[in-house]
Amino acid sequence: MLQPTATDAVVRMRDITIAFPGVLALDGVDFTLRRGEVHSLMGENGAGKSTLIKALTGVYRIDAGSIVVDGAGRDFHGTADAQAAGISTVFQEVNLCPNLSVGENVMLGNEVRRAWGIDWRATHREAARHLASLGLSLDTRSTLSSHSIALQQLVAIARSMVTSASVLVLDEPTSSLDRSEVEQLFGVMRDLRDRGVAILFVSHFLDQVYEISDRITVLRNGRLIGEHSARDLPRDELVSQMIGRAVAELEAVATTAERTIDRDATPVLRASGVGRRGSIEPSDIEVHRGEVVGLAGLLGSGRTELVRLLCGADRADVGTIAIDGREVRIPTPRHAIGERIAFSSEDRRGEGIIGDLSVADNIVLGIQARRGWMRVVGKEERDRIAREAIEALGVRPANPDTPIRNLSGGNQQKVLLARWLAVEPDLLILDEPTRGIDVGAKADIQRKVAELSAEGLSVIFISSELEEVLRLAQRVVVMRDRRKIGELDSKDVDIDGLIGYIANEGVRAAA
């Protein structure tokens, strides 16, 4: 491995500061990227990783500081400027043209031209050469969309090589790849690194970061925490640098969740045989007072579909729902809130936040909707509710007047949790509340759920992370192929057991 010196620096960013209304996204951050290294940028959501990348790739203008690429000071006015400086970016969502061929995508804007126009045969030959240099042998005339996301990502990298980029930025390239695809990507990355390309890598997966990185820079709350050689930075040190406190706090959540639930009393919610044609087969579910029921199953197993019937987001065609033993109809979310059932959707952006409204308005929206438009939540009351929620959940920035779209994913999720808690529900349904958010916010949300259930709130908790489900829930309902296949007491099962149960469709329970 190369041991880079200061003269190898391709990119030198100094004192980078970027402010958004109400948020200081980057506060005097330094970042250096050297020739022939894979450099990981680490931090929680909202730490400033994306902002730094966007500053480097010309998406955002910097408010203060300097960017030097290849020894020359740069003032990027757009992504084209950054590309001209040799900086190529491959984003999480591939930014290619899915309806064009692979070859056209690789060569777009750099087609081989002759006097009579584009020489397509030569263009495809050239594309094939670039792909081959990454160890890919694709039919360059096939449509891009016919290939997997992983291959599309590699095509995007090949495209950046056409313009002979000296810096390659990979923002969460592995989030939708499987193990072997990640290996293939890493192979390409190592190859490019050995050819002298500087690679900036962002990933939420620590294993991958350690596998590929030569160097790690940690950001927190828009500030630089440190730059380390990957070999000299132990994992727990990295994590505590990222979240700024000991990992042990996450573990502490587990103990609060261990308690017994009175299952003889009338359940808060009893759904019998609720189902909807084409969406979910009739299923039963019960939630008792103060109980956290986990819903486990693979993506598409019917977890979301089931809870959407319980909260009126979708209408059930069969089955009955009883609240405290009293049979009720829940045709709309409004009725659900009337019955004190609150539902937080998995689609935070599409079904959760009201982007342009302030944090405070987003928090009081639920209360206001229940009261109707005539009885307004006054300014004082709104500010008090917002301030208390921000305090209790640790929302950052702690400014109730910031538009919620300026917050990071984890903080948006906390605001949504605050909205639902403000309507004082008896049953809180959380669908993937911790997906795509950082360790710190995750711990905050888990702790809050454990705390509230200990005080008597009933919760249905859906998560793809089985570890989290087992940690929080007293009982786990397992779904598979759009129906409920069984229930487990979380004391009687560990992660491997739960995975086995999901995979083997309750065979184990029958035995």
Partner: protein, 346 residues
């Protein structure tokens, strides 16, 4: 100062002020106000008086646009309400009676309300795209108005009806009071209650609002009803001004001017955040422009071109991208004046 500079209304206000300045330079008497028999007259008073119909329509349009909708039928609704009112007065035995006129106005506004209910039903209940749903009435409404007037331009003489658009109350045109009351009612309704916030929530993210328990159907429906009623009152003011029900000319193209006023006022056509004050400024800007054409004696043949050019300039003054360019150009100029070359920092 910083708060003023960052205000969303800064540029709309500057555009309006610029227009007034241009007019004053061209004709210094533009700002003059004379008092005759205790009543105020002058170009500015005319602008305020003549802007009343557009003001009412644009207020309704603002609310509809905030819900992510659009109401193309406002001009047709104006034609209908004016026709109904004047036809009733024409057929009554006492056209000069205050009671007759009150009933006539009530009928016109009530029919406009029904048309608003119809629009809202199509959009909020049947889920038809607003532009198509209101296009139906935009096309059919004038037909209805022609049916009401039997295809004639009904002209009447009725002093109380005439007073609506042409009369004076305590020194100021009555139509101005109608505008002010409408603005006050809308501002109170939207900002003193939670209606404005809920309307914005529905406009920004309908699915999230529904899950939060917001009655979005009622809010969207209400917006079209409000737009219908305001257009109805506008139609009465318009017909009172010319004392005739002209089913073809009443409110012609007013939907476009109203949309323009809303956009000039800083409300996005994408829905969501809206500004009533912004719309008021937008309406005054447009009305001033229309007056400018008259004042400057622009020949009728080229007045549309003049109007278009002026609108482009006004929109450019407000465009954030143009602001970016001009501040970048200013920064370059400053940098050139600095003697020594410094490292590039943004």
């Amino acid at each position: 100062m910083r708060a003023v500079l960052r205000s969303r209304l800064l540029w709309p206000v500057l555009a309006l002020v610029a227009l007034v300045v241009v007019n004053t330079v061209a004709r210094p008497s533009f700002l003059g106000i004379t008092v005759r028999d205790g009543e105020l007259y002058g170009s500015l008073i005319d602008i305020l008086r003549n802007s009343a119909p557009l003001m009412l329509v644009a207020l309704g349009m603002t609310i509809v646009i905030a819900t992510r909708g659009i109401d193309l039928s406002v001009g047709a609704i104006m034609a209908v309400s004016g026709s109904v009112s004047l036809t009733f007065i024409d057929s009554s035995s006492d056209p000069d009676g205050v009671g007759t006129v009150m009933i006539a106005i009530a009928m016109g506004v009530a029919l406009a309300l029904l048309l608003g209910v119809w629009n809202g039903f199509l959009v909020a209940v049947l889920g038809i795209q607003p532009i198509i749903a209101t296009l139906v009435l935009m096309l059919a409404g004038r037909g209805v108005a022609l049916l009401i007037t039997d295809g004639f331009i009904t002209t009447v003489t009725s002093a109380p009806y005439r007073f609506m658009a042409q009369g004076y109350l305590v020194g100021l045109p009555f139509a101005l009071y109608v505008s002010l009351v409408a603005i006050a009612v809308i501002v109170l309704l939207e900002r003193r209650t939670a209606l404005g916030m809920l309307t914005e929530a529905v406009g920004i993210n309908p699915s999230a609002s529904r899950l939060a328990g917001v009655r979005s159907r009622g809010i969207v429906w209400g917006a079209y009803i409000a737009s219908g009623v305001l257009s109805g009152v506008a139609g009465i003011l318009y017909s009172s001004n010319i004392m005739a029900a002209d089913a073809n000319a009443a409110g012609l193209y007013i939907e476009l001017y109203a949309i323009l006023a809303v956009v000039l006022g800083g409300t996005s056509l994408m829905g969501g955040r809206f500004s009533i004050v912004g719309t008021v400024i937008g309406v005054l800007t447009i009305q001033t422009l229309l007056s400018t054409i008259t004042f400057l004696g622009v020949p009728p043949a080229v007045s549309p071109v003049f109007m278009a050019a002026a609108v482009i300039i006004v929109v450019l003054i407000q465009s954030p991208r143009v602001h970016g360019w001009t501040s970048a150009a200013a920064a370059r100029l400053r940098a050139r004046r600095t003697p020594e070359r410094t490292e590039v920092t943004a």
